[in-house]
Structures are given as structure tokens and as C-alpha cells.
Amino acid sequence: MSNEKWPRNLFIVVTVICVAVFLFLTVDTLKQVQARSPELTEKVVAGKRLWQKNNCINCHTILGNGAYFAPDLTKVAQKRGEKWLVEFLKDPVAVMPGTVMKNIAMSEQEADEMAAFLEWVSKVDTNGWPPEPLGLGDSEDSSSGESVFQQAGCVSCHTTNGDGGTFGPDLSNVASERNNSWLKKYISNPKQINEQAKMPDSSLSGEELDAVVDYLNNLK
């Protein structure tokens, strides 16, 4: 009789042990998890509620989980900055004319809360995820003009050397048509030069701006 029952008993014993070990680890994880992220404020929690209410997870991933239709937002606050996020969430198309995200129009307060939530997420200790990209080849580093051009999203609308989006003009020869100061001025604030411009203001630092203009010059 006992001979026949050993597979069942093995199943029960293994289940009990595994569940016990898992619950022990759960208790420890719950203790540690708070210390691995900034303090939760009401504003962050309000942002989290908006995150759920707007069903963001079914286009984007966050901490790598979600849908693969739109970019991962774990570090978006570090990449874009709070000001950019707020402007984008209020009117995505105005900030990024080629964007697919056309249905969202948050109020100032909502955008603010959402940005606070994304800021909070970007500071969670994720064991180093997502990793820094290894780069676009040996001669390039992450601050190079080409990297900035890729990562700031310019490439989504503009083509250079046959690669890129077609929403904005091809920039392969733009440096032979415009001088550097014009380029910098335009990239910083397109509407200052052309009121009808669809291109959003960039949030590039002075260094990044120099690198991008260098990059455009080298395309000539």
C-alpha cells in the first residue's frame, strides 16, 4: 500500500517544502523592497493610478513587463526629464509630431502626477536593468552625435544617409545648406525660425546639441 502511495506523498512533501521556502523568501523580499525604491508620495501613487486608468501597460512595458508596441518607460524620466514628460502627456502630437500616441490629453495636474510616478520608477533599484547599450561600434560612444540623434528620437522623423523616418525632411545634406548657428537655433526651438514648424523643441543639453550638429556636418 505504502509502495503505491509514494508518488502522491512525494508530490505533497515537495509542494510543502517549495511553498515554505518561497514564503520565507517572500517575507524577506517584502522587507527589502521598500528600501530599494524612493519613498512613495501621494503624488506618485496618484500617478500610478493614472498609469492603470489609462491602460498604459497594453502599449508600453515598464520594468520590462507589458506590451511591446511602444517603448519601455522604466528610465524614460531620466532620458527625457520631467518638463518634457509633462508637455508630452498634455499634448503628445505637439511634442512629437510623428507619435502614434494620439489619444491622450492629460490635464496639467494629471501630467504632473504621471511624471512623478515615472520619475519614481526610474529610481527603483532594478539590479542594473536595463543595461547600458554596448554602443554603435568602436569609434562611437554614448555621447556621440549619432547616438544623440538616435536616442533623442530625431531618427524617428528624419533620414540620414538613407536610414530613418520620413515624417520630416532628409537631413543628409542639411549642413551644406545651413550653417551651424542656424542649425543649433532651429534644433533648440524650431518655431523661433519657422512658426509652422511641426518639429518639437528639443531638450538637448549644449553638449548634445554640439554633438548632433557635428554629426550633421560630417554627413556632408
Binding site: C18, D28, T29, K48, N103, V124, W129, G153
Partner: protein
């Protein structure tokens, strides 16, 4: 069919097919939106379409598994169900809840958490429905006093499924805690409790279709589910690498994740062993084909496609890319969808007292399987492209999507259209089974009517 109350399964199976058709339809819409983002963008935005795509799947698999349970429990307990009225009540409660949930998503009534989007009010209705189900099944088994291995494993899985759902009902301000407990639902469903249910239903179908003895299958079944628990419980660690949980989950998730294909491999060996040494192969070869296909696809989709990205050193680069979609599609299809269809191909002909037409079932099998395998490998290609260009080279997500991965995703849409054709053949086959009832007519003729 030995017991009248096994008919309770019928409604569940019919509704399963309705939801399958909806799932495929919304899959097509969302697949098209990857390539043409403006397609139906105002009427059916991607995030709503996708929520419907994955929720109709969760619902149809649950309805299918419940239907299979209602069919097999009278057989295994040698008794009628405790209450067919309760089974009917539970069906209508869950079906209406499901329909309201799907319509609700269209109007933005959502909890906004992947796979378990149903808002809190509907959560409670689902809990009531599932409790009614567990009560009905539980009392039937207890009254019969026949806790054989199939019933014990099946009931453990069903009870576990219900308990895990509760952990998805709480709001967390911290996204780390949110995802920590969200995985309790998702992982402990698909890599835990649903695997138990699948193993029990597979064992039942093997007995019916190959004539193998319960005594022989019991040992295999317990070994399989022991391995499921041994690898799956701590295997949840592979979801805890990057969500703000401690670093020790990296080795734990890596090691146990690597072992997770083992129980599935055992299920494949088990299935093939019994089919090869079958004392008496059942005439219903269509159900058998779907069952064998389920075992293999389960192993490739859930086992192999999962294990290749389970090590932290690899997962660091692949996490949250189309590789996960590749794994998700073939895993759900092999592990649960094909098994539910196998159970339906076994049970429905018995319920309507009519033989299954083998040609359509076989056509549906191959068209759906080949197109789903293609879809998965295409998504795998898209995933590798995304990992290399976006994650490793650092190129912009949208740029990579528009210029590189969409090449793959266009072919995914083609595979989706082929899968739709297979689904139409499948549904058509079941419609014929359901609507035409010549066996009854023949009995009428025999009776001189």
C-alpha cells in the same frame, strides 16, 4: 457519454469557441496596427484591442478547462455531477461577467493590469463564479469518495488557480510590489496551477484515447506535477530579476527557470509512451492528434522558448522584447489552447452523440499549428532584431520598430491570417457537430417516427 450531467460541459465549450473567434479577430486588428498605426486607431486603439486579445484568451481557456472538468469529473467519480443547475448558473454568471468586461474595456473601464484587467466589481463576480465551480466539483468528488490521482491533481490545480486570483485584486502604489504579486497570479497560473490542471486532463484523455490503465498513469502524473512544483514555485524568480526585488532572485530564478522544461519533457515522453504502447487506440484520432500536438508544442513553446531567455545574463538583454511575445504565443497555444481543443474533440462528439469528421479536424490542426509556429518564430526573429539594435546597439525604439522589426511583423500578420483560416475550419467543424444531429434522427427513425 456515461452520465447525463456531463452535458453541463457543452455550453462551456460553445462559449470557448465564441471567445476564441473574438481573440483571433482582435489579434488581427492589433497585429495590423503594428504596421499601420492609424488603422482603427480612434475606434479601437491598440491598448484596448490588446487587452481584449489577451483577456478573451484567458476567459476561453478557463471556460475550456472548466468544460473539460465538468465532462471528466462524472467519469472519474462514477457519479452524476452534484448539481447541473449550479453548473448552468455559474456558466451564465461568468459568461455575462466576461462579456461585460470586454465591452467595458472599449469604454475604458479597466484596472489597467495586464491579463487581469477586469475591474474590481467584476473581480468579485468572477470569485463567486469560481467558488460555485469549486463547490460543485468538490462536493461531487467528496460524495463519490473517489479521490483518484486525476481528481486529486485536478482539484489541487483548480483550488490553487482560485486562490492565486485573489492576489491580483489589491492595489499597490509601488509598481515593484504590484508586479511582485501580479506574477503570483500570472506565473502561478501558467507555470503552476494551470500545469496541474493540464497534466490531469492530459492523463484523463490518455486513458480514454489509448486505453492505458489509471494505475500506470498515476505514477507518471504525480512525478510530472512534483516536477512542476519543484521547478515552478521558485522558478517565479526569473520574473523577479529586474522589478526592484532583491538580487538573490537572479541565481534562484536562473537555476529553477533552467529546470522548468523538465516536467514538460516528461509529459511528452509520457504521452508518446502510452500512445506507442497503447493496448487499444480510440477511433477518435482527431482528439488524439490534438493531444499529441499539444504535448510537443507545449514543450517547444513553453519549455524551449522560455528557457533560452531565463538566465539573468541573457534575460538582461532580452527582457521586455518581442522575444517574450514569441514565447507567450506558442506557450499558451501548446500548453493550454491545443489541450482544450483536444478535450473538446473528445467530449463534444460524445455529448452530441455523433462521430467527428476527421478531415476538418486534421486540417484545422495543421493549419493552426503551422501558422502559430511560423508566427512564433517570426516574432522570435523580430525579438532578436530588437535585442540587437535597440538593447545592444542603443538605437531608438521607434526607429528600430519602424525600420527593422516591422519587416518581421508584416509576416506575423500573414501568419495571423493563416491562423484565422485554421480557426474558421475548426469552428465550422464544431458548428457541424453541434447543429446536425443525425444520430438523434436515426434514433427517431428507429423509433418509427
Amino acid at each position: 457519454m456515461r452520465f447525463e450531467s456531463q452535458k453541463a460541459a457543452y455550453k462551456y465549450f460553445i462559449f470557448t469557441l465564441v471567445l476564441l473567434v473574438l481573440q483571433v479577430l482582435f489579434g488581427l486588428i492589433t497585429a495590423a496596427q503594428f504596421i499601420w498605426p492609424d488603422f482603427m486607431a480612434q475606434t479601437m486603439p491598440f491598448n484596448i484591442g490588446r487587452a481584449i486579445h489577451i483577456n478573451t484568451m484567458v476567459f476561453w481557456l478557463l471556460f475550456g478547462l472548466m468544460g473539460a472538468t465538468y465532462y471528466l469529473v462524472p467519469d472519474e467519480t462514477d457519479s452524476e455531477l452534484y448539481s447541473t443547475k449550479l453548473a448552468d448558473f455559474q456558466f451564465w454568471l461568468l459568461a455575462v461577467t466576461g462579456v461585460v468586461a470586454v465591452i467595458g474595456y472599449v469604454f475604458g473601464w479597466t484596472e489597467g493590469r495586464e491579463y487581469i484587467e477586469a475591474p474590481r466589481l467584476l473581480d468579485w463576480l468572477i470569485v463567486v463564479g469560481v467558488l460555485a465551480f469549486l463547490y460543485n466539483i468538490g462536493i461531487t468528488i467528496i460524495k463519490s469518495k473517489k479521490w483518484n490521482s486525476i481528481l486529486a491533481v485536478l482539484f489541487s490545480g483548480l483550488a490553487g488557480l482560485a486562490v492565486m486570483y485573489l492576489f491580483g485584486m489589491k492595489f499597490f502604489g509601488s509598481i515593484s510590489l504590484d508586479q511582485f504579486f501580479w506574477w503570483w497570479v500570472i506565473h502561478f497560473w501558467v507555470e503552476g496551477t494551470w500545469e496541474l490542471i493540464a497534466a490531469a486532463i492530459t492523463a484523463y484523455l490518455l486513458i480514454k484515447l489509448t486505453g492505458v490503465q489509471l494505475k500506470v498513469i498515476t505514477k507518471w502524473l504525480y512525478l510530472e506535477v512534483t516536477l512542476v512544483v519543484l521547478t515552478g514555485v521558485l522558478g517565479i524568480g526569473h520574473h523577479y530579476f529586474w522589478i526592484g526585488t532583491p538580487e538573490y532572485w537572479l541565481p534562484i530564478g536562473g537555476i529553477f527557470g533552467l529546470l522548468e522544461p523538465l516536467p514538460i519533457l516528461l509529459m511528452v515522453i509520457d504521452t508518446m509512451r502510452h500512445v506507442k504502447h497503447s493496448p487499444e487506440l480510440h477511433h477518435n484520432r482527431v482528439a488524439l492528434l490534438w493531444l499529441i500536438g499539444a504535448a510537443f508544442t507545449h514543450f517547444v513553446g513553453a519549455g524551449l522558448m522560455g528557457v533560452v531567455q531565463t538566465l539573468p545574463s541573457i534575460n538582461k538583454w532580452t527582457h521586455g522584447t518581442q522575444l517574450t511575445a514569441a514565447h507567450g504565443h506558442l506557450a499558451f497555444y501548446g500548453a493550454f489552447a491545443m489541450l482544450v481543443i483536444a478535450a473538446m474533440y473528445y467530449a463534444v462528439p460524445n455529448i452530441v452523440n455523433r462521430q467527428v469528421s476527421s478531415s476538418k479536424g486534421i486540417w484545422a490542426f495543421w493549419v493552426m499549428l503551422i501558422s502559430m509556429v511560423c508566427m512564433s518564430f517570426i516574432l522570435f526573429g523580430a525579438g532578436i532584431t530588437q535585442v540587437y539594435l535597440e538593447r545592444i546597439m542603443g538605437m531608438d525604439f521607434n526607429y528600430v520598430k519602424t525600420n527593422f522589426t516591422n519587416f518581421w511583423l508584416l509576416w506575423r500578420l500573414v501568419a495571423g491570417v493563416a491562423f484565422t483560416v485554421g480557426t474558421i475550419i475548426l469552428v465550422d467543424d464544431f458548428l457541424h457537430l453541434a447543429i446536425k444531429k443525425p444520430a438523434v434522427n436515426r434514433r427517431d427513425i428507429d423509433a418509427g417516427l
